[in-house]
Symmetry: C2
Subunit: 364 residues, 2 copies
Amino acid sequence: MIISGGFKETGRESAQLEKDVVSTARKYGIRIIGPNCIGVLDTRSGLDSFFQPHDRMIRPSAGGVSFITQSGTVGCTLLEWAAEQGVGISKFASYGNRCDVDEGDLVEYFSMDDDTEIVVIYIEGLSNGRKLFEAASRISKKKPVVVLKAGATQLGSVAARSHTGALGGPQPVALAAFEQAGMIVAHNVEELFDIVKALAKQPMPICEGVVMVTNGAGPVVMAADKFEEYGVEIAKLSKPTLEALRKELPPYCYISETTIDLTGSATSKDYETALRIAAKDDSVGLLASFFVFQDPPLDEGILRVMPEILKLGKPVLCCASGGPYTRKQVGVLENQTVPVYETGERLATAAHALMTIRDLQSKQ
Amino acid sequence: MIISGGFKETGRESAQLEKDVVSTARKYGIRIIGPNCIGVLDTRSGLDSFFQPHDRMIRPSAGGVSFITQSGTVGCTLLEWAAEQGVGISKFASYGNRCDVDEGDLVEYFSMDDDTEIVVIYIEGLSNGRKLFEAASRISKKKPVVVLKAGATQLGSVAARSHTGALGGPQPVALAAFEQAGMIVAHNVEELFDIVKALAKQPMPICEGVVMVTNGAGPVVMAADKFEEYGVEIAKLSKPTLEALRKELPPYCYISETTIDLTGSATSKDYETALRIAAKDDSVGLLASFFVFQDPPLDEGILRVMPEILKLGKPVLCCASGGPYTRKQVGVLENQTVPVYETGERLATAAHALMTIRDLQSKQ
């Protein structure tokens, strides 16, 4: 593992140095990760090569997600988000200049690693696209693979080359190949993490159909826009479901086939009623629960409700955003393995990814 | 001001009740904000109609941004983000069902309000598009107007109608009209806030040209992709600038016409040197400074450097993301009126908005 920079990314002479290191290593059968990277984390063995001290960068707990990243910086961000939002990590490899071990090798390795359930890739440029394509095609049948490729543009490619000496290559070709290999393509770092959080915390939907429950509808409007853009199917609650909801919920609630608006007067009990009844409907594959924690009478009772809703077996994604009080509630929910998103748009993106992986897996 | 719901948004009978309220009010020359909203905040007079208690929702301090929002929920989020990220608010109006006072009236009012420097609009459906168009066309010559329109799709429009009884209308027409009226169009809630934060905290660029300074290049690659997508011009540092940078900075720094990569070994002093020299270059209109706070030897000295850099008069946008340590540094920077973004993509969007407003204002 070579952490230090000063190789291919800094110019011609240093590129020769990198070549010399590789040829020497090959001679003795040594594989190399790096150079110009932050190295490796294995949460189970405790191997941690990072030069980032613990008081600067917190480490995530053990879990099923393994990261492959060309950029150490992007890796640091993803690891701390994982640590804070309760996403458990198996292994992490930052490979920087990729002088030997590449993303294809790492995907192959993670396909054989029993501790890895989900593979996440941040990539700036491909060296051996076919190798990655083939490895990903095999693994994506068993384990979800989520990928973000930066360096999409001319300017981005130039930035990538001076960063890790990688050539960007034509983005549309790369993305089409990724999708063909069964990978889920994310479009920015937040989206990458949002998708991974849903995958790591929630079961796969057994059918299509998203139902939305809320106590404040603005974010629902924006989520609805995104669902339509993505072509995610929305639930059509059955007549018996609608009747049960109307019977059990207060009369001022606005109940439609797709959305249960409990209004700003919603209590935790109202959420429990709505989510329990909706979860039983055959047209519901995923529960999207939007909270305005700023609005009383919604109270901390919701923190006892959500673990009960999870037991019903359908995936649950939540949305909430605001200041310190909201963050406190969100922190508890995240630890209960309930993924919470700051906006309706981001919730919709995560839901879309779950539905896409469900489609891919059902085709196997 | 009518906060309660139970009017047009709940169906036909309640729509009649709303009409009756309006006709009675008209008879006596009374204007109405609402119903089905959270009402009004005026940070200077202390008027605050919100039913959200202070321990659930923190309030922002006084400043130059005024909000107009159809959704109270979106309003709560924006206000708490403003409070936590040091964006000062003048006035806030949530108008819900918009039975009388509409966004056109509010834009007109804010154009005459000396405490309002920036107008922000979240809208789900238009009632009187021409009135908004005309009011915005007048005000945008003096004050930036940033707008987000939800309810873009069929599904979103249905959600909006059951939310505030608003008809969505054709989105492309609305967005084209907004741009023609000189408004900056945001595409989601985070983007809306990101743009407002830049506008509220930083001066307008006096020329095009973004220079990037970093100690970890991943986010720079993604920002570069976005700059190219947006058509934001990147700096071309002059030969004397490049020579000065090479002379003053450590030899392992990677210095190009567009980007100064100080590498993971960067100190606060290196940032100061790089930003000071780059700010003097005529091709630089905006300084984009990316921090990996996880990487020593970058230390808290940077918190003394940035206020000095702001004094040079060119707008500065920063990028940093991670866990508790990073958030602590970001909090201090935000209070120093340095806007900090979690990703390079979001920084690029804010930079693009500043450049667009600069273009609009230079055409006046």
